[in-house]
C-alpha cells in the first residue's frame, strides 16, 4: 500500500496547530491504558503472591491449635486453656473420620539461638512428625527427612533450611553429619531442605517431635497439629472440622459447640474465598480500566467534534474542490485513530515498563514482599487492549467525521 504522505502531513499539521488540546486528549487516553495495564499487573502480582503460598503444601491441609474455652461445661468454668498432647494425636490418627495424615508440632518459643563454631543465629525451629513432609510438600536437597526411627528412638536428628547452611557453614563444607547446637543440645544434620523463594522457608529447622518433647517439655505436649482431610468441598471440610472438634471436646472436657476452645484453619475454604476475592478484583480491574478507556475515547470524540467545527470552512472548501465523503471521513478518522493509538501505545509501553521494572527490581534485589510477587500482564490481554484502542479510536472519529460530511460547502464558506 502506498503511504499517503499528504494525508499524514495534514494530520500532523492539524494536531500540531493545537498542541495543548492534542496533548490533553492524548493524556486522557494514555492515562486510561496506563492505569489498565498497571491495575492488571498489580492485581496479578497480588494474586501470584497468594497463589505461590497456596501452592505450597497440600490443598486439603488443616491446621489446629489449642485455645481457651468460652463456654462452661460439666461444671467447669470457661477460660480454661486447651493443651494438646499425644493422646490427641492418637485420636486424630486412629479415631477421627475424614482425617488422612497428621503431624504434631512442637514449637521452640522464646529467645534462643542456634550455634555452631561460635556463630549464632536465630531460626524457626519446630519439632514435627515425619508426615509433615507430605502436608507441607517439603523437598530435600541433600540427605533425608525426619523418619519414624528418629521418632521412636528420640534421635537428635535435624533437617535444616538453606539459610542455616549459608549462615553456619563455609561454602565448601559438607553439612550432613555435622552438629549444631539448639538451646544447649547438640543435634546432627541429616538433611537439607530445598531452597525456597520465601525467606522464612529457608530458615526452618525440623526435628523429631518426640525428641523435643523429651528434652524441652518433659512430657508429651503438642502445640498444634497439621493434617490433611478427605474433602474437596467446603461442606465436607466443615463436617470434618465438626467431627474433630467433638473428638477434642471429649478429650479435653469442653462443649462441642464451643468454637473458641480450639482454633482451626483450613486451606480449602480460604483458597475458595481467595479465588472469589480475586475474580471479583479482576472484574473490578477491567471495569475500571475499560471505564477509563471509554472516558479517553469520549475525550477524543469531543476533541474531534471541536476540530470539525473549527475546520468547517476548510472542509467546505475541500468539498467544493472535489473532496469526496470518503476523503473527509478518512481524514478525520485517521487523525482520531492516530491520536488514540499513539497515546494508548505509549500508555501500554509505560505501564509494562513500570510493571517489569518492579518485577525486575524485586527479583534482582531479592525483595520478598508478602503481598506482591511476579507481577505480569499476559500478551493476550495486551492484544485485546490494542485492538480495543484502535477500534475505539475509529469509533471516536466516526461521529465527528459524519458530522463533517454533512457540512454544506456553500454555508460553510459563507461563514
Amino acid at each position: 500500500m502506498k503511504i499517503d504522505y499528504d494525508k499524514w502531513e495534514e494530520i500532523f499539521e492539524s494536531l500540531g496547530r493545537h498542541k495543548l488540546r492534542t496533548f490533553l486528549t492524548a493524556l486522557a487516553v494514555w492515562w486510561g491504558i496506563f492505569m489498565l495495564v498497571l491495575l492488571v499487573g498489580l492485581s496479578n502480582g497480588l494474586r501470584n503472591s497468594f497463589e505461590r503460598d497456596f501452592s505450597k503444601g497440600a490443598k486439603n491441609a488443616l491446621f489446629m491449635w489449642g485455645d481457651r474455652t468460652s463456654m462452661p461445661y460439666n461444671g467447669l468454668k470457661p477460660g480454661r486453656e486447651v493443651d494438646f498432647d499425644m493422646r490427641d494425636y492418637e485420636t486424630l490418627i486412629n479415631d477421627t473420620e475424614g482425617v488422612q495424615i497428621v503431624s504434631g508440632r512442637f514449637n521452640f518459643w522464646g529467645d534462643y539461638s542456634v550455634t555452631r563454631n561460635n556463630k549464632s543465629f536465630s531460626y524457626n525451629v519446630q519439632a514435627v512428625h515425619p508426615s509433615i513432609k507430605k502436608i507441607q510438600f517439603t523437598k530435600l536437597d541433600k540427605g533425608r527427612f525426619i523418619n519414624n526411627n528418629d521418632i521412636d528412638n528420640t534421635r537428635k536428628s535435624i533437617v535444616v533450611g538453606h539459610q542455616v547452611i549459608a549462615d553456619l557453614f563455609e561454602e565448601d563444607e559438607e553439612p550432613i553429619g555435622e552438629f549444631i547446637k539448639i538451646k544447649g543440645t547438640e543435634y546432627m544434620i541429616v538433611g537439607v531442605s530445598e531452597k525456597g523463594e520465601r525467606d522464612w522457608e529457608n530458615r526452618n529447622i525440623f526435628l523429631p517431635i518426640s525428641t523435643a518433647q523429651r528434652i524441652h517439655a518433659g512430657r508429651d505436649r503438642v502445640h498444634s497439629f497439621a493434617l490433611t482431610v478427605d474433602a474437596t468441598t467446603i461442606e465436607e471440610v466443615e463436617a470434618i472440622e465438626a467431627t474433630i472438634r467433638s473428638k477434642m471436646a471429649t478429650n479435653h472436657q469442653f462443649d462441642p459447640e464451643d468454637t473458641q476452645a480450639i482454633g482451626m484453619w483450613n486451606k480449602l475454604e480460604r483458597y475458595q474465598e481467595f479465588q472469589m476475592i480475586f475474580s471479583g478484583m479482576k472484574g473490578f480491574t477491567w471495569f475500571v480500566g475499560i471505564g477509563s478507556i471509554i472516558a479517553g475515547m469520549i475525550g477524543v470524540s469531543n476533541i474531534m467534534l471541536i476540530v470539525v467545527k473549527d475546520r468547517t470552512r476548510e472542509i467546505g472548501v475541500r468539498k467544493a474542490l472535489g473532496a469526496t465523503p470518503r476523503n473527509i471521513i478518512s481524514m478525520i478518522v485517521t487523525e482520531a485513530v492516530f491520536l488514540t493509538s499513539i497515546a494508548g501505545y505509549l500508555g501500554l509501553l509505560m505501564g509494562f515498563g513500570l510493571i517489569y521494572t518492579l518485577s525486575y527490581i524485586q527479583k534482582t534485589q531479592n525483595i520478598d514482599l508478602d503481598f506482591f510477587y511476579n507481577p505480569e500482564v499476559d500478551f493476550g490481554a495486551v492484544m485485546i487492549a490494542l485492538v480495543v484502542l484502535i477500534i475505539s479510536g475509529a469509533l471516536s472519529g466516526l461521529i465527528p467525521a459524519i458530522q463533517a460530511v454533512k457540512i454544506n460547502p456553500v454555508v460553510a464558506m459563507k461563514s
Binding site: R313, G316, V317, A320, G322, P325, N408, V410, M413
Partner: protein
C-alpha cells in the same frame, strides 16, 4: 456547455415555502464569458450553487457538457466538481496553513496526482497568474488581489470545462478588481467558459454577455 431547462427551486420551512428559482431556461455555450447579475434575493446565488453542483434543484434539467446533473450521490457530485468545475469565491477561501502552491495543488490531490507533478503544475499555474515567485508564501503574507489570483490558479489547475466565480471582486478595491477581471478575460481568451456572479455593473460590463435575474426569473440574457 451548460443547458438549463425549467429549473425550479424552493426552500420550504414549516410554515412557508419560498420559491427562489421559478423555471429558469438558460443556455451558455462553450467559450462564453458570462456574468449573472441580480440584487440580493434575486436567486443568483442559488443558481450558481446549482450550476456548481453544490445544491440540488427541485425540477427541470441541468445538462453540463451534455451530462444530466440530477440525483447524484455525494461522491459523484464531488467528482464532477473536481473534474468539470473550477470555483472562485468572494472570500478567496484559501487554506491559511498551506503555502500558495499547496493551495493551488489541492484539487489535484483529490485526483490522486503525484505530489511532485502537483507541485510542478501548481507553479506553472501560479506563473499564469503572475505569482510564480510567491509559491512558497502563505495566504496571510499576500494581498487580497494576490490571494484571489492564487484562488483563480487553483480553479484552473484541473483544466475544468467551466469556471464559476461568486462575487470574485466583492472583497477587492476597484483597481485590484479590474486586475482580477483581466485575468478572467485572459482565461476566457484561452477558450475557457467563465461565469461570474456579481452585483456590480462595472464588473459585468467587462463580460461578453450579461444575464439579469430578478425574483427568480431571468429578465434578460
Amino acid at each position: 456547455m451548460i443547458q438549463l431547462n425549467e429549473i425550479r427551486k424552493s426552500y420550504n420551512t414549516e410554515f412557508t415555502s419560498l420559491e427562489v428559482l421559478k423555471g429558469i431556461d438558460l443556455t451558455i455555450n462553450e467559450g462564453e464569458f458570462v456574468s449573472i447579475m441580480g440584487s440580493s434575493g434575486s436567486g443568483k446565488s442559488t443558481l450558481l450553487n446549482i450550476l456548481g453542483i453544490l445544491d440540488e434543484y427541485d425540477s427541470g434539467e441541468y445538462l453540463l457538457d451534455g451530462r444530466l446533473i440530477k440525483n447524484l450521490t455525494q461522491t459523484q457530485a464531488a467528482q464532477y466538481r473536481n473534474k468539470f468545475l473550477g470555483f472562485v469565491f468572494q472570500s478567496f477561501n484559501l487554506l491559511s496553513f498551506k503555502m500558495a502552491w499547496e493551495n493551488v495543488a489541492l484539487p489535484l490531490y483529490y485526483q490522486k496526482v503525484d505530489r511532485a507533478i502537483r507541485k510542478e503544475r501548481a507553479i506553472e499555474y501560479l506563473d499564469k497568474v503572475g505569482l510564480k515567485d510567491w509559491a512558497n508564501h502563505y495566504p496571510n503574507q499576500m494581498s487580497g488581489g494576490q490571494q484571489q489570483r492564487v484562488a483563480i490558479a487553483r480553479a484552473l489547475i484541473t483544466e475544468p470545462r467551466v469556471i464559476l466565480a461568486d462575487e470574485p471582486t466583492g472583497a477587492l478595491d476597484t483597481q485590484t478588481s479590474y486586475d482580477v477581471m483581466n485575468i478572467f478575460k485572459e482565461v476566457h481568451e484561452q477558450g475557457m467558459t467563465v461565469i461570474i456572479v456579481t452585483h456590480e455593473e462595472d464588473i459585468s460590463a467587462k463580460t461578453q454577455r450579461v444575464i439579469r435575474l430578478q425574483d427568480g426569473d431571468i429578465i434578460s440574457s
